[in-house]
């Protein structure tokens, strides 16, 4: 049986009374009969900004799906805000890893956000002047305003740029009044300036609204300044802790069971070299 390699539980920002947002106990998930990861213990406190890192296929997305109740645990327990995980939990907003929407999809951004609120209910989606529920459309418009998507809220989602779509989808994830966001590679396939503005938006939502953020990332650098904690998945195991404790040569080498080196560039960016597949796309011509 595999165990977590290190569990340096420490968090300076969240006080001892801070409520637990995520609790995993000896959790394991199987896909196709084999464990993606197992023996995972993880605690995330309310209001923390957590980055989930690791190579492709390490089970980062599966970790989010397990917390959403979409993928069942094979063993152990998972809690969100003290309650067992379940699908359709209004306290958790989800932004899946995705392709972009089809350019000719004739669904307006505002309708997509609205689906996040009541899309699971039976019946016909009525136009707003017929539906008559004011509170719901106010809820929709306030999250659209929060993410700064007012300008294009009434345009078809397929016509929007990648960054604009991402803002709308974050609004959709928040619209139920979610206290936790599970974001799967929200920065993927965005250009550098959009990466910065979307990660700044997520940071603001985290800091100003007190929303707990779990963000799966391929490249830690755009979010490195904001994160309170790193969850690193590799090799069937998961380690968590402060960024400087986890993203370092010793911990990652132990996690991978192979020599891995963490380099820091002069401008503070980190590069992990020596693994099968790089965690960042930068400066990576030689193996160590």
């Amino acid at each position: 049986m595999r165990h977590s390699v290190a569990e340096p539980e420490s968090s300076e920002r969240a006080g001892p009374l801070a409520e637990e947002a995520v609790g995993l106990e000896r959790a394991g998930v199987t896909l196709g009969g084999r464990f993606v990861w197992r023996g995972v213990d993880l605690t995330v406190k309310t209001g923390e900004f957590v980055a989930i890192l690791g190579p492709n296929g390490a089970g980062k997305s599966t970790l989010l799906k397990a917390l959403l109740g979409v993928v069942p645990l094979a063993e152990g327990q998972a809690r969100i805000f003290g309650k067992p995980v379940r699908r359709g939990n209004d306290e958790v907003g989800y932004l899946p890893q995705r392709r972009r929407f089809d350019p000719d999809l004739r669904i307006r951004a505002v309708d997509l956000v609205r689906l996040g609120l009541d899309g699971a209910r039976w019946g016909v989606p009525l136009p707003s002047w017929l539906a008559g529920s004011r509170t719901k459309s106010q809820q929709v418009h306030s999250v659209i305003h929060l993410v700064g998507a007012d300008e294009y809220a009434h345009r078809p989602i397929g016509e929007l740029s990648g960054g604009e779509q991402q803002r709308v989808l974050i609004a959709q994830a928040l619209v139920t009044g979610a206290r936790m966001l599970a974001l799967d590679e929200p920065l993927d396939s965005l250009d550098l300036s959009n990466q910065q503005s979307i990660s700044a938006l997520v940071r603001d939502i985290c800091q100003q609204q007190g929303v707990t953020v779990l963000l799966v990332a391929h490249d830690v650098n755009p979010i490195l300044p904001f994160i309170d904690r790193v969850v690193y998945a590799a090799n069937g195991r998961v380690v968590s802790g402060r960024p400087e404790d986890v993203i370092q040569t010793e911990t990652l080498s132990r996690l991978y069971g192979a020599p891995v080196e963490v380099l820091r560039t002069s401008d503070g960016r980190v590069v992990v070299v020596g693994q099968h597949e790089p965690v960042t796309y930068h400066t990576h011509d030689h193996d160590v």
Binding site: R87, V92, L105, L112, A120, G123, V124, A173
Partner: protein, 253 residues
């Protein structure tokens, strides 16, 4: 024998319309045509939204062996039609759309079902020694040969399909546009997609019963771009029928 020349059309459109609607078979044709246009528009919207036009095509084809089997076993063709369309929809829904496999798996299942059903259709057709009038009617039927019973069947299926579609519309849109989030929000994505295929099967079965006039309409509805297609179909259907009535048919003299 009456020919079309006995009822030659004038330029007085109102009078022409009144003339045409005097015929019971024309009334039936208009009623069924309108119902099917509405149904095809509603179902077609979701077919396009979900990228399932290949499945819809398949559903319209698997009716053929169904009708042939029913004729062979001395059942009304409509029963075979409904049974085969339902079975085809279930095959695609249960096997085809695994959540992560996307559309490729579905296409493979659709293609297999299509080939299989065509083979079955020919087999049943051959096994039936007599003249398979009902199968011919199914393959080359005409909208002007619609009986009152056909009208009743169409009314019932249209109402059932539209009510079912209305009941699942919102989660179906959610599951079609955004399946991952829909699943996380608690939408039974798999069940919804099977439910939709069953509605589509019932709708296609109805449509297939009157192939010459209706199958093309149904196909147009999802080739045309989403909702605007509904209006076009409704507009085009009546002139089409009027035109066909005013054109001399290749009758025996």
């Amino acid at each position: 024998m009456t020919t079309t020349s006995d009822y030659s059309l004038t330029w007085d459109l109102l009078a022409d319309l009144q003339l045409l609607l005097r015929f019971h078979f024309m009334q039936n044709a208009f009623v069924v045509g309108t119902l099917v246009a509405i149904l095809a528009g509603a179902v077609g919207y979701f077919v396009v939204l979900r990228g399932q036009s290949f499945v819809a095509h398949m559903l319209s084809q698997v009716g053929f062996p169904g009708a042939a089997a029913a004729v062979l076993l001395h059942f009304p063709p409509v029963i075979g039609l409904a049974a085969f369309c339902t079975a085809g929809a279930l095959a695609v829904g249960v096997v085809g759309r695994r959540l992560d496999a996307g559309n490729r798996m579905e296409s493979a299942v659709v293609a297999s079902v299509l080939a299989f059903s065509l083979g079955l259709g020919l087999l049943f057709f051959r096994l039936y020694a007599g003249s398979a009038q009902a199968v011919y009617a199914f393959l080359f039927g005409t909208i002007l040969g619609i009986t009152d019973r056909d009208v009743a069947v169409t009314v019932v299926t249209t109402v059932v399909c539209l009510v079912a579609l209305a009941a699942i519309a919102r989660p179906l849109v959610f599951a079609s546009v955004d399946p991952d989030v829909a699943e996380a929000r608690g939408v039974p994505v798999r069940a919804i997609s099977i439910a939709f295929l069953l509605v589509a099967a019932l709708a296609t079965g109805t449509v297939s019963a009157f192939p010459t006039a209706l199958e093309d309409r149904f196909h147009q509805s999802y080739r045309a771009h989403l909702a605007p297609g509904l209006g076009d179909i409704l507009k085009l259907r009546a002139p089409g029928l009027l035109g066909s009535k005013s054109t001399p048919s290749p009758e025996k003299h």
